[in-house]
């Protein structure tokens, strides 16, 4: 019996205008997004090749990951060149600064964005009329007058409708990925494939949440027009409002100095120490060298103190933001997928730690005050992104669990609502 329900649902969907529109939209968007982000990735790889340092430069820079095509996250910022300067100050290279300022006003249209915003909307549009629409059409009571339990009906509907939403989408993604692998610049190793696979698995869980929510709303309203209104608002709240508002809220809960304050303080340390040099009554060149060494190390340790305090607060801020925003499946999904792609906040934290360690290696090297640069052979910065296992252990499983929990809640709500539904 369940087979019949699934089949009916799929067939009905395929013949509907809705299916046509949504499938076309999702296929076009997925392919456009993959193409556009591939070109963006290509550009970043080219820039990386140009800027790659040799052993005479105290520069830390990492290669863009091909997975940033799907979930760009913070990859652009993480791929900036970090140069260690006098006194262990780390400067961000200005060369990769995007000359195109308009990027800041809008969002990156990567696959993650397409999924978390557009596909989530599509999932709700697929589901909003599944129960209330059939009631209006009068077919719901006909179906239930047969020997079909409501459990079977809901499961069948869920499977049939969800499949007709997801299958075309997955096919489009598959097509895009196949086209990508043709390019010699995109080289994905086994780890990367695993990451992509897990990302798509997460996508299914994520879309399922919105689909079940849509079904739930459909099963508590008696007119499809009302379920549509409620669905759209719920979508907006979950996708935009909770994550974006939670972010500002978290900032008010955790006391953290602004980046500007940090810079002002850093400048203060620098000025103070350098001018202390005046009081030392230096006469010979050796004295000056010795003094510079001392000043460098003081500046470095003062900066370290400042940074470790800031980093501690910053990590608390990130944790608070994550905890608050996880009330929305969109946030949990965003964290999961960017962490998996190695472009998320987790990776950013890890990278910054690595750069700070690198700075500690460089800062003891002799510094030439005349050319304002470090002398001689310098260590080369090397960095591996967090392996999948660690991503999952750190927060991946938590986020996945949150998504599963949302699924269970939404589906049970839909189930209960349908059991109590007046089909007449």
């Amino acid at each position: 019996m369940i087979g019949t329900v699934v089949q009916k649902e799929i067939l009905e969907n395929i013949h509907s205008f809705k299916f046509l529109v949504i499938t076309l939209l999702s296929v076009i968007l997925v392919l456009t997004s993959i193409f556009v982000m591939y070109r963006d990735y290509q550009l970043r790889v080219e820039n990386y090749e140009v800027l790659r340092p040799d052993s005479s430069q105290p520069v830390a820079i990492i290669q863009p990951t091909p997975l940033s095509i799907f979930a760009k996250g913070l990859d652009e910022n993480m791929g900036r060149s970090y140069e260690v300067q006098f006194g262990g100050q780390i400067n961000v290279g200005s060369k990769q600064q995007s000359v195109n300022k308009i990027f800041r006003l809008f969002t990156t249209p990567d696959l993650l964005y397409v999924i978390k915003v557009v596909m989530a909307l599509c999932a709700m549009l697929f589901a909003f009329s599944a129960v209330s629409g059939e009631k209006e059409a009068g077919t719901l009571r006909l179906v239930l007058s047969n020997r079909v339990g409501r459990t079977v009906l809901l499961t069948g509907k869920w499977i049939g409708s969800f499949a007709s939403l997801v299958v075309p989408f997955l096919l489009a993604v598959l097509l895009g990925v196949i086209l990508l692998t043709v390019s010699p610049q995109v080289q994905m190793n086994n780890q990367d494939w695993l990451r992509l696979g897990l990302f798509l698995l997460g996508t299914l869980f994520y879309l399922a949440v919105f689909f079940s929510l849509g079904l739930f709303i459909s099963a508590i309203s008696h007119r499809s027009a009302s379920s549509l209104v409620v669905s759209l608002f719920l979508w907006a709240v979950l996708v935009f409002v909770i994550p974006n508002l939670g972010n500002i809220l978290a900032r008010q809960l955790v006391e953290i100095p602004s980046v500007q304050r940090l810079e002002v303080k850093r400048q203060q340390i620098w000025i103070k120490e350098v001018f202390e040099l005046n009081n030392m009554g230096l006469r010979s060149w050796e004295d000056v060298q010795e003094a510079i060494k001392k000043v460098t190390s003081t500046i470095n340790s003062e900066n370290d103190r400042l940074i470790s305090d800031y980093r501690g607060r910053f990590n608390r801020l990130v944790t608070a933001t994550k905890n608050i925003t996880r009330f929305s499946p969109t946030a949990a999904f965003t964290f999961l997928s960017t962490d998996l792609a190695g472009t998320g906040l987790l990776e950013e934290r890890r990278l910054k730690q690595a750069v700070l360690q690198y700075k500690n290696l460089v800062v003891d090297k002799p510094f030439d005050i005349q050319t304002a640069s470090y002398k001689g052979e310098l260590p080369i910065f090397s960095y591996q992104r967090n392996p999948v296992r660690e991503v999952l252990n750190a927060e991946g499983f938590t986020n996945l669990l949150v998504l599963i929990l949302f699924n269970i809640v939404a589906f049970s709500a839909a189930y209960v609502a349908l059991l109590r539904y007046d089909v007449r």
């Binding site: 556009v36 963006d40 008010q252 103070k272």
Partner: protein, 486 residues
Amino acid sequence: MFRSIIIKEFFDNLLNLRFSVGLLVSVLLTVACVIIQARAHNQRTQDYYTDVRLQEENIEKYGPISPFFIERPLLKPAALSLVATGLTADSYDTFDANFVPQVFPFIDLVFIVSIILSLLGLLFSYDSICGEKENGTLKLVCSNSLSRATVLFGKLLGGTASLLIPFLLSILCAAIYISLDPGVMWQPVDWAAFGALTVASMLFISLFYLLGMMVSALSKSSSISILTAILLWVVIVLVIPNLGPYVSTELYPIESLKKVEKEYNKYMKGMEEGGEIKKQMDELYAELDRKYEQEYGDMFREYIAIPRADRLKTTGMEAPDSDIKEMGLIYRQEARAISSKVMGPIWVNMRKISAQLKIEGERQTEVAKNIAAISPYADYIYLSADLAGTGMRSRENIKRVTSEYFTLAGTFSREKSAEKDSKRISDWRNIKDDPLDISGRPRFSYVEEPLRNRVAASLPYLGVLMLYGVLFFAVAFIGFIHYDVR
């Protein structure tokens, strides 16, 4: 008759579920958003004053002993940034930048209008024509002695009026909160800007009502109409603006970064042992040395024998006067002339390429801006940011004021040090006992452009929005004239 159509449409919407849900969501969201944003804004403002104080103390203490100590330009948060964040969020160009807002951008009043209320606009109007057809009321209306233009226009007025109620109520709540919050000190000009923003937002929301009506007049059933409307909304709000910048990089790729880097590498290679430039310079230096050796003989040989690091002791500024010092000074001058002769053209060339990079970048930004401006959503975003003084226009102004300030401050410090003694530039050691008077130093201050200019700057975008309005209405009108009301 026209009036009864307006009234009917107005009350029809008012009694609908979407009105109550929309009203609730809009007011609640706006209030929550304004409260949170106002607190964040107050925090930022306080931070600004603390930063200024810290810096002042620093300058008081160390400024007089260093003419090179120039203050860091600090910006006071724009008053309207709490309703239109725009580009004012933290810079990402530092090592310690806070990237959380990049993952989830801040939400403000502009966001509520551009996403939530535009969606509400569509929801209000997607069935205004085809829905009435389905109910059978449309043929009744049209059986009266009414032109279709009157019906359409009446629907537009009545519907927009009902749609604007949730928005205006939300704005009212926001305004009340802002005026009561003691931390937010808006001047009359800020309120005027807020008013202008409100008017522009009303236009923007009505535009989406028109869009829904247009789709409604073109579709047979409301289920098709809502899907088409949402599809258009997705394209206008979510797709075109976000793709714009990427399309522009595709159309106008920037080659200069590679060129700059290539030129720089060429220079670095040339400077290495055995490199072109190094060779050329060494030859010129050798020639200079020969010339001096002929002229000064032993004295020059004695000078050249001193290790570089110790030369300043005999020929530096502070060394006692002697023939060798005199010679050393001229020699160094000529050596410097050689280096600038060789390096000059190279630097000029590199500067030229960098300048080109800037121009190309600006052109790309302009193209991206114009591509995105196809979407009324982007036009509204530009317009609101420019009105609030948080957009690209004010960024440009800030950049200009900052560079003017740096020029002024640089001149000031040069003049101050010249007043004292030319040697203090190269030698800090005596500065401490002979501090400078820096009381007249130039201070960085940025004042927001007058509102009139901001409004003038946003007029083109407003024009595009109106143009879209006319277009949508025209299409809706044509569709409705051809509409089969049975």
